[in-house]
């Protein structure tokens, strides 16, 4: 016979304002099985909680219903309290009198009546609650970091320094990511590579870090603490052990006209190449699509010149399978290309470049060795127009969100330009200046006041070429939309930051959700910014949303801290809200008939087969079995099971049935 205690919370006036809590407590006393029912001002307060604890001991309660706010708010609070009083926490349920009743209905009889109903429903549920034990799963203390940009590097280093093994996977031939392409960084204007390359080297040298460059995630199975990741190591066509990185091959490659990704197509490279001088690892890779040998079967010049005979044309992709306990997603972003802008010439004007291309033009390691030369004819641009919000905050043709970094890097670009060409003229078209960050606004002011960059508040409506110049037409909205026309030598579009190509596919591979723009979604916008909705997978950097370097690094360290926290235990406990296939004594064994139609219903491949064997080892029955580690407790299998052999703890058939029957 159940002995239920009901505790009705006033939540100050939040509930009691529209619901007569006294009446609710009173009516609860009338419900069969309820032996104790009180109301109190703040149940979640210490005195409130001790009220519950005392009652549990005093009345030997077998179940507790707290009628207060949403269980999504305080269920953990009260379950802990109950546990402290020695009752199984899963024998405590909450009736949502606040969010679902007092806050949404007018004061009155009906509302109080509903509150009483909600309590009765929960009392019936509690009667059918089973004491549950949290699920314990072992933790593999090795992390997988996807993406070798600053986010991935930072996360990897922090985890490694916390004493755990890390595998850092980067899809391109070198780590470093976008940051390695930047010239200088706001708001301090320190050289990007100067601060990044030491980190890259540290990551490569770190005893706890295994580096897989030119590699991608092929497949992921398993669950938090127990993932099994398959990594595809793409063939470099090179024996990395033999290669000394002398670079002779790269100089000898006859094929020189290939657009250089690192320089954003503003320079060319050979078919065998090292992405950039400071690349880590500093080993070349053969670009099979463009290599003469792979295309025609002839050449092999690199093989001939290689002093150590490291070239391997027959090398094949290698699949590596790893057990990892946690994953950090740091796959970064991509920049919208200039060909997305018909009104700016569909990318057909050489001297209309995007922000990243300008970084290369301004970079000492870039195609112009840092000298200001425009792509079309190498002329030094006397007038440069910078267009912020190119594609960002543009519902009609671009993306609705703010790309966040453009305001700052545009100011930086204008500054860099002015520093290199003092007499030159720099204009910035902007919508608003978003420079919230330490020393950020000061930075922008400096561009405007000290480096005399002309800021024009308005959009650029059209850009076209005339007599080797770019005619930029726009409006100055601070002068009643007065039309502005500028003859520029170079135009820099601060194009929108977008999710990396293939993000959607990757998200589906990992079972993490993503927003309409394919940025990965955090588990909670405020309170779980680095977690995903898949336990054990964390986010760092611009793969979640546009981010600048400081934020990215901070978030990467945050993700690393989460991983370290996870790894601080040998096993972790999970909510026991999971599905279970019933087991019964022979000869029945289970209601399960082994049709396994539930298997395809499970989003987590958690339903396995178990063979019931006779003494002689012969198989009597093959039954479904739920892997509690994989099961996330959605209960889809429960609804598909005809024999009701599968049930889900915490939302069992009996519980839900009982709830309905009290309606």
């Amino acid at each position: 016979m159940s002995r239920i205690g009901v505790f009705t919370c006033h939540c100050g006036e939040n509930i009691n304002g529209t619901v007569d809590c006294g009446k609710v407590a009173e009516s609860a006393r009338g419900v069969p099985g309820v032996v104790h029912s009180v109301d109190y001002k703040y149940m979640c307060s210490d005195p409130g909680q001790s009220l519950i604890k005392e009652a549990i001991r005093e009345h030997r309660l077998t179940g507790v219903v707290v009628a207060a706010c949403s269980p999504r708010m305080h269920e953990p609070t009260f379950r802990n309290a109950v546990a402290e009083a020695g009752l199984n926490p899963y024998l405590c349920e909450m009736a949502n009198l606040r969010e679902h009743c007092s806050w949404v209905h007018e004061k009155g009889e009906a509302t109080t009546a509903k509150a009483a109903d909600l309590v009765r429903v929960m009392v019936e549920k509690v009667k059918h609650d089973q004491p549950l034990q949290p699920i314990r799963v072992p933790v593999t203390k090795r992390a997988l970091v996807l993406g070798g940009g600053i986010a991935g590097i930072q996360a990897a280093l922090d985890i490694a320094n916390a004493g755990h093994k890390v595998v850092l996977v980067e899809k391109s031939p070198s780590i470093g990511g976008h940051m390695s392409q930047l010239s200088e960084t706001f708001p301090t204007l320190d050289c990007s590579q100067c601060i990044l390359t030491p980190r890259m080297v540290e990551a490569a040298r770190h005893p706890n870090i295994t580096l897989y460059t030119y590699a991608e995630l092929e497949k992921l199975e398993g669950f938090i603490g127990n993932f099994k990741a398959t990594i595809r190591r793409k063939a470099r066509s090179l024996d990395e052990k033999l290669c000394t990185g002398c670079g002779l091959c790269t100089t000898k490659c006859p094929n020189k006209k290939i657009k250089d990704e690192f320089n954003e197509g503003l320079a060319t490279r050979g078919a065998i190449y090292v992405p950039f001088p400071q690349a880590v690892p500093n080993k070349p890779v053969i670009d099979k699509l463009n290599c003469t040998y792979y295309k025609t079967g002839k050449c092999k010049l690199c093989e001939k010149v290689c002093p150590t005979g490291a070239i391997r044309f027959d090398q094949e992709d290698e699949l590596v399978t790893l057990d990892v306990g946690a994953i950090v997603l740091a796959t970064g972003f991509k920049l919208m290309k200039t060909d997305q802008f018909p009104e700016y010439g569909y990318g057909k004007y050489k001297d209309v470049v995007d922000g990243m291309q300008f970084e290369r033009l301004a970079s000492a390691s870039g195609p112009t060795a840092g000298a200001m030369k425009r792509p079309s004819d190498g002329k030094a641009p006397e007038t440069v127009v910078f267009v912020a919000c190119s594609g960002s905050r543009d519902r009609s043709k671009g993306v609705p969100y703010c790309s966040k970094v453009c305001c700052m890097y545009t100011a930086k670009h204008a500054m860099l330009y002015k520093h290199k060409m003092h007499h030159g003229k720099a204009y910035v078209f902007y919508m608003d200046i978003r420079s919230s960050g330490k020393d950020y606004d000061e930075f922008v002011r400096r561009a405007i006041e000290e480096d005399d960059v002309s800021y024009i508040r308005g959009r650029v409506s059209r850009i076209y070429e005339e007599d080797g110049q770019l005619i930029v037409q726009g409006a100055d909205t601070l002068q009643n939309g007065r039309p502005v026309e500028i003859k520029a030598d170079l135009v820099v579009l601060a194009t929108a930051v977008q999710a990396q190509d293939g993000s959607e596919a990757l998200a589906q591979k990992l079972h993490v959700s993503y927003d309409p723009y394919h940025f990965f979604a955090e588990a909670h916008p405020k309170l779980k910014p680095v977690e995903t909705n898949t336990a054990g997978i964390f986010l760092a950097g611009a793969c979640q949303a546009p981010r600048d370097i400081p934020e990215t690094v901070a978030q990467a360290s945050g993700a690393a801290a989460k991983v370290a926290g996870l790894f601080s235990r040998d096993e972790l406990t999970r909510e026991p809200v999971v599905a279970v296939v019933n087991r019964l004594p022979a000869p029945t064994f289970s209601y399960c008939v082994g049709c396994f139609l539930c298997q395809s219903a499970c989003p987590y491949q958690a339903i396995e087969q178990e063979q019931i064997k006779a003494r002689d080892g012969s198989v009597i029955r093959t039954l479904a079995k739920v892997n509690a580690g994989l099961c996330q407790g959605c209960g889809t299998c429960v609804a598909t099971c005809r024999t009701k052999a599968i049930d889900i703890q915490g939302f069992s058939n009996e519980q839900i049935f009982a709830e309905i029957m009290t309606l």
């Binding site: 949502n96 007018e106 509903k114 219903a601 987590y604 209960g635 889809t636």
Partner: protein, 145 residues
């Protein structure tokens, strides 16, 4: 008569989207009729069609089923399975003469507090106009003493 009739409405909602959405309705203090009783389940995929039959048998005049929008399921695909189930279920129930217009299916995300209020308003109004689901309730009482 019907204007004094207060329908009994049962809502089966998933914990991650619609239940959270309904919480948001509360925190935003948006008002809606008190006729609805919300039953919380982990996912729309968990909603066994028998639960609906039971709700009607217990005298619900209307039913709301709501969960995460396609693509947003916390469990990635529970709502897709649910959707298929309801596609077949609705046709079958209609074929058996059950008044499927009394069952409202909806996607309400955790961010759509206002939509939840709207939904409850519309359904309550609709059912109030339809009147009690007498034919089914009589059935439920027939032979059950």
């Amino acid at each position: 008569m019907t204007d004094t009739f207060e329908p009994k409405i049962t809502a089966f909602v998933c914990n991650w989207c619609t239940y959270a959405g309904a919480d948001l309705t509360g925190t935003s203090r948006i008002k809606y009729p008190s006729n609805v009783r919300v039953l919380r389940l982990p996912c729309t995929g968990r909603i066994d069609f028998m639960l609906l039959a039971k709700a009607f048998a217990r005298g619900s005049d209307g039913i709301i089923i709501s969960g995460c929008h396609p693509n947003d399921c916390h469990y990635t695909s529970g709502n897709y399975h649910a959707r298929r189930r309801w596609m077949v279920y609705r046709n079958l129930m209609d074929f058996m003469g059950i008044d499927t217009s009394r069952i409202t299916f909806s996607w309400v995300s955790a961010a759509e507090g206002a939509k939840w209020a709207e939904l409850v308003n519309e359904v309550t109004e609709g059912i109030r106009a339809m009147g009690p689901y007498t034919e089914y309730q009589e059935l439920a009482h027939a032979g059950v003493e």
